[in-house]
Symmetry: C2
Subunit: 361 residues, 2 copies
Amino acid sequence: MWPDTRLMDLLNIEHPIVQAPMAGAMDWELAAAVSEAGGLGSLPCAMLKSEQIREQVEKIRGRTDKPININFFCHKPPKADNAREAAWRDRLAPYYRELELDPAAAANAPSRAPFNAEMCEVLTQLKPRVASFHFGLPEPRLLERVKRAGCIVFSSATTAAEARWVVEHGADVIIAQGYEAGGHRGMFLTEDLAAQVGTFALVPQVADAVDVPVIAAGGITDARGIAAAFALGACGVQMGTAFLFCPEAKISALHRAAFRAARDDGTALTNVMTGRPARGFYNRLMRELGPISEIAPEFPLAAAAVAPLRAKAEAQGSGEFSPLWSGQAAALGREMPARELLAKLSAEARQHLDRLAGAAG
Amino acid sequence: MWPDTRLMDLLNIEHPIVQAPMAGAMDWELAAAVSEAGGLGSLPCAMLKSEQIREQVEKIRGRTDKPININFFCHKPPKADNAREAAWRDRLAPYYRELELDPAAAANAPSRAPFNAEMCEVLTQLKPRVASFHFGLPEPRLLERVKRAGCIVFSSATTAAEARWVVEHGADVIIAQGYEAGGHRGMFLTEDLAAQVGTFALVPQVADAVDVPVIAAGGITDARGIAAAFALGACGVQMGTAFLFCPEAKISALHRAAFRAARDDGTALTNVMTGRPARGFYNRLMRELGPISEIAPEFPLAAAAVAPLRAKAEAQGSGEFSPLWSGQAAALGREMPARELLAKLSAEARQHLDRLAGAAG
């Protein structure tokens, strides 16, 4: 048994473990495996078109009828800024020359669109048990439709202030995303990276700030982390990095190799890949341009000029220009199918929680 | 009972709670209160002369015969760099003018000397149960004397690599200092702040990296944090911020006021106060010069030119030029005498650990 079953009761799931939606690193297969195994699988839709979202969800539902989460980004669309784009391309020009790429070639970066009316239409038709949002919440009119469709709304918060804000604006569950988390930071009320809060300090302060269930995220890769999250006041965990070790994840061999070599101090928050701070393994682009660059164009525009470098380098077996997202606890990851990983994590965490009090007997 | 009693057994103490040594914010009184109440009180000696160390330890021993910790810094002494110092003073000149201070006035900053033969002589005479070191370890010859005197040696580590290094070089116990921690980061094998590890990710990775007992530090201010630290693999916690809420702490009214207004996102790591990264509440100097400044002189030299600004501003009731050290979980602090706080934290943590498994019954 778990010490706090609010999340499991709310969603009617067996394990209080949410697989983090990881755009660009997974598809329906991982989400379906996690949901079918009794966790909450999440489909990242920020880089998908409407028809792709439908297709992916159909595939999940062909595999399981258990609850799923569909995830979107809620960033403000960037303003085009030609001067900034030009400065960015200038900064990248030496790499284009080195990799023998045409600087004038059109970049073929995947788009990352914020949640809009079209996506809302798809979402409300698909009616997943959970809709989750990163970088804030949809505009009130759209959020209202999502809630009327019966979706439980999750939103990320990186500070107690963000947690209070999203609850006041309609979120039913908070994902408290600590500093250790891999991928994009959900921060939306602040741009102050220096004040971002570690998972250990964030979770209890968010739990104190809001009355809704809190899911802990950031640096949770094994049963110790799951037990600690409950100790801090969470009633569930969101794990991303841990699930990228599964064969169901759709990541490159380079990314998998980086995970196998992971160490605690091998990642940093960087904005050079997309324009927004995200945590990944250090590579050459991060080291030489950042990890935080003042000139990177606004999210997601920075990605366009990086895309050809990434593609060419990856074709040559190099991840030096790729976003190799990872949290700070990747070294604790284990390679196994998602179903097996979920069952193992859940059983180990419950045993660990029992052991922690065992001496009290 | 506690789930892991290694630290309590090793030190023969009643509660697995170490009061962090906080140079400039406390003296013998807090350390004595914590040790007498069954925790491990720590006396910070980095800013004390030999005779002061003796005097302070005598005062502690007049109050309690229980184990104590005496703490020193092990930084490399800085090289004088006149150009850098001049640039720093230039940068501070507008503040000198604003506060009507003479820029040529001799600064009266407290010294922070690294552990040396004289301190070693005092330490080995005083024979505390524990000697702890920040910024690495003393040179082998001195460390050997400390160990021969019967002291158990604690050392801070901010990464698994640092933990392995200090154990290989003689540390008996690791303090895993996560990103959330207030005051100076103990980092000594790396200068890469961007790769510093959150407590949640650090503790289990350090516990896996070394065979010695691991104490968790950083963002631990209440019973939830203590329980979580044990869940992550620690057998004790080091708490600093929590004890600055005690009347025994020797901090300014300004610093106490900052604690009362604390929020999770109100601190940052800054080097503008001393030259080394340390976490404290944001103030004007941090905001306008940093929080990280490229031109701040090497630790501890940066403090000298800041000292007159701090003194004058504090005399006017302002903390805008003061180091207001704090961890990221200060909002969870409670004002009460150290003895009471320690007893409460310990009892609450044990109850919490029991509750976490309670449902298993």
